[in-house]
């Protein structure tokens, strides 16, 4: 596609529900990142994929958060047993090259706004 696509655009969940957020990066982009953006804050790093390999998950806030990219393209961020503090915008970004030495710019999706009631 022309850009990074995320779905759904909005998600409302009851506390305790599981949610799955999808990211479709730009075709051919090797690197994929997930960020969490709380209201009034900048994006916070969650996890990084190089193709299908999850090389860095140091930013995931708890073991309730899980991400995958099984075929090296589409990625899913799953949050189990959602809590109110999980309410945020979840941003996906991709870049063409590998993340290790990369100084490349990131291409961001529009995000999924998650509200946990």
């Amino acid at each position: 596609g022309a850009g990074v696509s995320q779905s759904p655009r909005y998600k409302v969940a009851k506390r305790g529900q599981d949610v799955a957020l999808r990211c479709d990066p730009i075709s051919g982009h090797v690197s994929l990142f997930w960020y969490q953006q709380a209201l009034g804050q900048g994006p916070e790093f969650l996890t990084y994929f190089q193709n299908e390999a999850q090389l860095d998950k140091s930013g995931l806030p708890s073991d309730r958060f899980f991400a995958e990219r099984p075929e090296g393209s589409v990625s899913t961020l799953k949050i189990q047993r959602t809590q109110q503090e999980d309410s945020a915008v979840y941003l996906c970004a991709s870049s063409l090259g590998e993340g290790g030495w990369s100084n490349e710019k990131l291409f961001f999706g529009s995000g999924t706004q998650l509200s946990v009631l």
Partner: protein, 115 residues
Amino acid sequence: AQSVAQPEDQVNVAEGNPLTVKCTYSVSGNPYLFWYVQYPNRGLQFLLKYITGDNLVKGSYGFEAEFNKSQTSFHLKKPSALVSDSALYFCAVRDNLYNNNDMRFGAGTRLTVKP
């Protein structure tokens, strides 16, 4: 570890006047520095970056930024602001260490350009 600070939550300027959005950073090694802009209901869009070389970096839409190593700053500037420049601006830094995937963003500065 790396961090970035944007000391101003809000910047207001009149159309046609120069604008500056401030950013300071902290890294262990040498920095890769970025500016992104976010319009309502849109993802972050890349404006410009500093990797190495000339301290004055020119980017999209007439924006530029000056890398100042001694002051650890990377302020965003534009000589003549447009109403359409009104948006949320984020400074970001990555320490240029291998396998450092964590790009740190500032909290953002909301720029309002008034006609």
